[in-house]
Amino acid sequence: MTDLGSAPIPPPGEDDHVRGPRDGRTLIVYADFECPFCAVLHEHLLALDARIVFRHFPVRSSHPRAWPAACAAEAAARQDRFWEMHDALFADAARLEDPHLWEHARTLGLDLDRFDTDRRSDAVRERVKRDFRAGVRGGIVTTPAVFELCDGAPVAIARAELIGDAGR
């Protein structure tokens, strides 16, 4: 996959969503919240002692609610609750309609009016698109796509290495 990339996958930056210990493996994950394989990967990543960088790669004709879900996660990020929303979306990936997104926001204690304004904003859409564009430039063709940071440079790793037979 990376052999056909036009540009390197960007290393983690200040604007990325990052969690996990700094002294272990760093994995960069391109995923969408409606992708069942991404949800499986998410469960495996939770069990890893690794630093995770999440980037959006929603493809709407595959997953019509992937874009609204990605924008919901970014709107939550604007209230410092990205990872909580990320986990909530993957935990309930079959329910991604607007009422479900509002329910998650309410459960997380977000300012609902602000959440709803933000998730529909151009700035949030552009933030999601930025991840997507970088993934396309890097040659990503489907989700999930995982890269490990090796000497500061992201290197593609096979999903099977992380999720075994659960990968397609």
């Binding site: 996959m1 056909l4 990339g5 036009s6 540009a7 929603p58 493809v59 709407r60 004709s61 595959s62 019509p64 997507f132 396309v136 430039r137 890097g138 040659g139 990503i140 063709v141 489907t142 397609r168």
Partner: protein, 149 residues
């Protein structure tokens, strides 16, 4: 397969409305011919979904995409409808594979190789690419790079 600098061969494909699509339809526009093996197959599904996601950006660069397979028009139409893909589908069903053969992308198994061909407004091939195997999905970045070259 056909290479950059070659004029497009004579061919006839079938549109969803049952009309013919020939080399004359390529004149005056930049066209991206997306040859794919089978409607409804997993990799072809991912490929069309991905290209659809960035279709606006292809359009902004003045390119028109066409999906081409040896499936019947009814199958192609159902495939595109199921995916919600608006990339026009062209059928090489009868005589089966003749257009693919003309472009040099007919797989010995009787289906298109996974291949991309960019044709300029003058009906001359600007760029072509064939995946190492039909199971490999060429990223949209390859098309963007070729359009920008």
């Amino acid at each position: 397969m056909i290479e950059a600098g070659a004029p497009v061969p004579k061919f006839a494909l079938r549109r969803g409305d049952d009309s013919d699509f020939t080399a004359a339809d390529l004149e005056g526009q930049t066209s991206v011919l997306v040859f794919y093996p089978f409607a409804f197959s997993p990799v072809c599904t991912d490929q069309l979904n991905l290209y659809q996601e960035v279709l606006d950006e292809f359009t902004a660069q003045g390119a028109t995409l066409y999906g081409i397979s040896c499936d019947a028009t009814y199958s192609q139409t159902a495939f595109a409808k199921q995916l919600g893909v608006t990339i026009e589908q062209l059928s090489d069903f009868e005589p089966k594979g003749e257009a693919c053969r003309a472009f040099g992308v007919l797989h010995p198994g009787g289906f298109p190789q996974r291949a991309l061909v960019i044709v300029g407004p003058d009906k001359v091939v600007r760029w072509s690419y064939q995946a190492a195997s039909p199971g490999d999905l060429p990223g949209a970045n390859l098309i963007f790079d070729a359009l920008a070259a």
